[in-house]
Symmetry: C2
Subunit: 159 residues, 2 copies
């Protein structure tokens, strides 16, 4: 159901986190569960993956991972501070060691001059460390943007 390269990457992330004794959660918007799905495709992932929040609507972002209404109003859902709040909210609410988040314009609709199709913010929150947020503009169609987001998030997980 998922490409072998993605599964290989997921295997490496799980092995690294497992060796560190760390647990993981996700908070996904544009990928809609695909990061969690890639990780849980691997047998034994339950020792690392605890929970995932698919916060597709703005309401879900606020209710499920504590994104601030004011941040959504000021910056929009596809923004650095929303990605940061999603990751930090998932970390706190799931009680894990590492949380990954993403929010972006997967397309084909929804793009603008400011926020083109392919724009994705990916964040990693980690207990006791500063949160990292990456900004990407990925080429290709909806499936390509989502696949590139999964790959970048999995890289960031163990970076």
């Amino acid at each position: 159901m998922l490409p072998e390269a993605t599964l290989d990457q997921a295997r490496q992330v799980l092995a690294t986190l497992d060796a560190r004794g760390e647990s993981l959660a996700t908070a996904e918007s544009c990928t809609g569960g695909l990061i969690a799905a890639a990780l849980t495709a691997i047998a034994g992932s339950s020792s690392v993956v605890m929970a995932g929040f698919v916060t597709y609507s703005n309401t879900a972002k606020v209710a499920m991972v504590g994104v601030q209404e004011a941040t959504l109003a000021a910056h929009g859902a596809v923004s650095d501070p929303v990605a940061r709040q999603m990751a930090e909210g998932a970390l706190a609410r799931a009680g894990v060691d590492v949380a990954l988040s993403c929010t972006g314009v997967a397309g084909p609709g929804g793009g603008s001059a400011d926020k083109p199709v392919g724009l994705v913010f990916i964040a990693r929150a980690r207990r006791g460390a500063p949160t990292i947020v990456e900004r990407h503009v990925f080429p290709g169609d909806r499936a390509a943007v989502r696949a590139a987001t999964v790959a970048a998030a999995l890289r960031l997980a163990v970076d």
Copy 2:
């Protein structure tokens, strides 16, 4: 990233729910986000899909969708009543019209005489209607069991 047959099925679910003006959420254990990922692979899914709960650990099942500790203790995570509580919890917490859930033994480990690999409970909760729970024993490996679960859940969404 996902097979065309799954995407076709997701398209039909979204079209049906959209025509009815209904919103959807998911609560996934053994599929780990793959049902939500399949639905959100389709452009325009944000008019129907609001949220997804990937409740991989028992702690997440309790905290995120309100599964009762006593039910987990009495029946185990892979059981009819847990699938039911996951769907009904997702319906209530996401404030949607329809919620899908699943909990199962995707394998290759974790099976027992009572609960073999491939055993999956899938539930659909719907505002103002009785919740439906299906019991399946799917053949094949982990990927096959997860793919069959996604297909059965999408069928149940609009049944």
